[in-house]
Amino acid sequence: MSKEGGGRRTGSYRYFQHTADVGLEAQGADLEEAFAAAAAGLCALMVDPATVRLQRTWSIRVTAPDYETLLVRWLNEIIYRHETRGEVYARFGVSLESAEGPSDSSDLSRMSLHAKVSGEKLNPTRHRQLHEVKAATYHGISVENPVAGQTTDPNGGCLLRVVLDV
């Protein structure tokens, strides 16, 4: 069930089997594409993306001490905005920045993500709502980045895996 991510960039996502929850795997030529594809995969679980019109664009910024936490916070930010503001998205442009220098776990905002997300406000008569996603979890999370010398992606790109509690 591999699908195009639907953004300007061309990452893709697929779901993998997890007994109680939903596994999400996102792939992209670089981390930015992969993070955008992960968001597309999450949003497609909540609302049928074919029913979402690109009427507005919002900015989102999240920070974290490492990429795994950044991925979880990015997805949880989308869940929060969807649930409390009724925003539904179908297009994602992501840029990432990381502070120079060696990893220091005390720097809680070492990684930052800036996103432009496009979509509209939820309209229950037009949007097909699918699942209530409770959260993105840390269980078995992985961020594979060939720049950092590790990836299992056959295309040599970036691969993200995360389990969503549905």
Binding site: T19, A20, R73, T84, H131, K134, Y138, H139, V166
Partner: protein, 484 residues
């Protein structure tokens, strides 16, 4: 993913041990409650590895336990029980889960199938109309910040005071429907926001409301004390703390990730992030968790109130005349401060139940007077096509599982597998051919929750009863099902 290939030693017909030496860092054994029939499905995924991972938690006491409905979760297995020392051990939000105080309550009636059968379709339709459910459902109750603080502090008692039910309901709710020690300031503004318009909503996924028939009585004496008899109609409600609880868990996993570094705790899975119970982080989490638990009890109290109103209206009577009284309400995702005897010594423990039900025996001080002579009702919902059970807690549960038993059937198939196997519309037609009325907001959810997606609850209860950690009292079967 390949099945689990780890080491398992048989203890007796219903228990298997993952020895402490299986994995580095394990502080205690893992013990899985299963018989030879259930074990193969448990080994199909990575749930046993999660039992071993939980055994590494600092301060864990006895063993890392898994009930017979164990299945693969995130961090903890679902069906997991872990008790940690209150002074020396940790508390882990992953040991409670996102849906804090997800739980079940059962409402008795004095009706028979013959009384409700002619009205069944109308009744489930009216319940569906009157009780908000489904993805993104907003509630009929909107409370502002100050009022919400009352909900979080007082739980079901807040709901009763506002007219959603009667004071006697509280005695028949675990913990009286309210955990103490809540500081609303430990609950983030984001969690308040997510909880704002979801009070009094059933939710979606595996949450449900069912009208059920008492089909079989196994223990007439205990059943009589529980007010149950064969042929009687009851109603089960399964829901939790909604977005508020989900956000509390999300928030505190972040706090715990930092705390684990601060206290130098090394864990095999980030989702097990934890902090000492007696640390500022541990106490803050327990306070916020208690707030979310209280929200869930207020939620189920409101859902029950509308259920009673609706049944009375459709049958042209009153809740009192129809005997619509609460049998019991149990939490199955929670961490509790409890006293247990471990190796002959009384200890204060933090008992995590992640998809497990408290199963306290006769004589326990926390039980309502009415059940003091029998033990507490253990409410075990099954899938919508088969059965549900009412069990009773035992001394053996107290001795072996920190007073815990199973919480349901346990998933067997992922949601996407279930959807491949089943079409929602066909499932609805099949259930209706069997005389079960169904209302659901979406056919897709119905397919994901198909009976085939779950273990047979009859197998889970067979092992629970044979192992002696809860005893069978009554078996129920569905007459009408409402899914969010």
């Amino acid at each position: 993913m390949a099945g689990w290939q780890g080491k398992l030693e048989q203890i007796d017909a219903n228990r298997w041990r993952i020895p402490r030496g299986y994995k580095s860092g394990m502080r205690v054994d893992g013990i899985i409650y299963a018989d030879a029939g259930l074990l193969p499905s448990i080994k199909e995924d990575q749930a046993p590895e999660q039992v071993a991972n939980v055994a590494t938690l600092p301060g864990i006491v006895g063993a890392s336990l898994a009930m017979p409905d164990i299945h693969w979760g995130y961090g903890f297995p679902i069906g997991g029980v872990a008790a940690t020392d209150w002074d020396q051990g940790v508390v882990s939000p992953g040991g409670v889960g996102y849906d804090i105080n997800c739980g079940v309550r059962v409402v008795r009636t004095n009706l028979t199938e013959a009384d409700v059968r002619p009205h069944l379709d109308q009744l489930i339709g009216a319940l569906f109309d009157n009780i908000p459910s489904g993805v993104g459902s907003g509630g009929k109750i909107k409370v502002e910040r100050r009022e919400m603080e009352e909900v979080l502090t007082r739980g079901a008692a807040w709901a009763v005071e506002k007219g959603y039910g009667a004071p006697e309901d509280l005695a028949f709710t675990e913990a009286g429907g309210s955990l103490p020690g809540v500081d609303p300031g430990k609950v983030s503004p984001r969690a308040f926001k997510r909880g704002h318009d979801q009070l009094g909503t059933l939710g979606s996924g595996n949450h449900f409301l069912e009208v059920q028939l008492v089909e079989t009585i196994y223990d007439p004496a205990v059943a009589a004390t529980f007010g149950l008899s064969a042929g009687q109609v009851v109603v089960s409600i399964h829901s939790g703390s909604r977005g508020l609880g989900h956000q509390v868990c999300t928030d505190y996993l972040d706090v715990m990730a930092q705390a684990a570094k601060k206290y130098d705790l090394h864990l095999p899975d980030r989702q097990l992030a934890c902090a000492p119970v007696n640390s500022s982080e541990g106490q803050a989490y327990l306070s916020a968790m208690a707030a979310a638990a209280n929200y869930a009890w207020a939620n189920r109290q409101c859902l029950m109130h509308w259920t009673r109103e609706t049944i009375a209206r459709i049958l042209g009577s009153t809740p009192e005349r129809l005997g619509l009284s609460l049998l019991y309400d149990v939490a199955h995702n929670i961490a509790k401060k409890e006293r247990h005897t471990v190796e002959g010594r009384q200890r204060v423990l933090c008992v995590h139940r992640k998809g497990a039900t408290r199963a306290f025996p006769a004589g326990h001080a926390e039980l309502p007077a009415a059940y003091r002579s029998t033990g507490q009702p253990v409410l075990v919902p099954g899938d919508m096509g088969r059965n549900s059970y009412i069990l009773v807690g035992t001394e053996k549960a107290m001795a072996e599982t920190f007073g815990s038993a199973c919480h349901g059937a346990g998933r067997l198939m992922s949601r996407s597998e279930a959807k491949k196997e089943t079409r929602g519309a066909e499932l609805k037609a099949e259930l209706e051919r069997r005389g079960i009325s169904v209302r659901a907001t979406s056919n897709a959810t119905l397919a994901e929750e198909a009976p085939e997606a779950y273990k047979d609850v009859n197998d889970v209860v067979r092992v629970t009863d044979a192992a002696g950690i809860a005893r069978k009292v009554a078996r129920l079967r569905p007459l009408a099902v409402m899914k969010g």
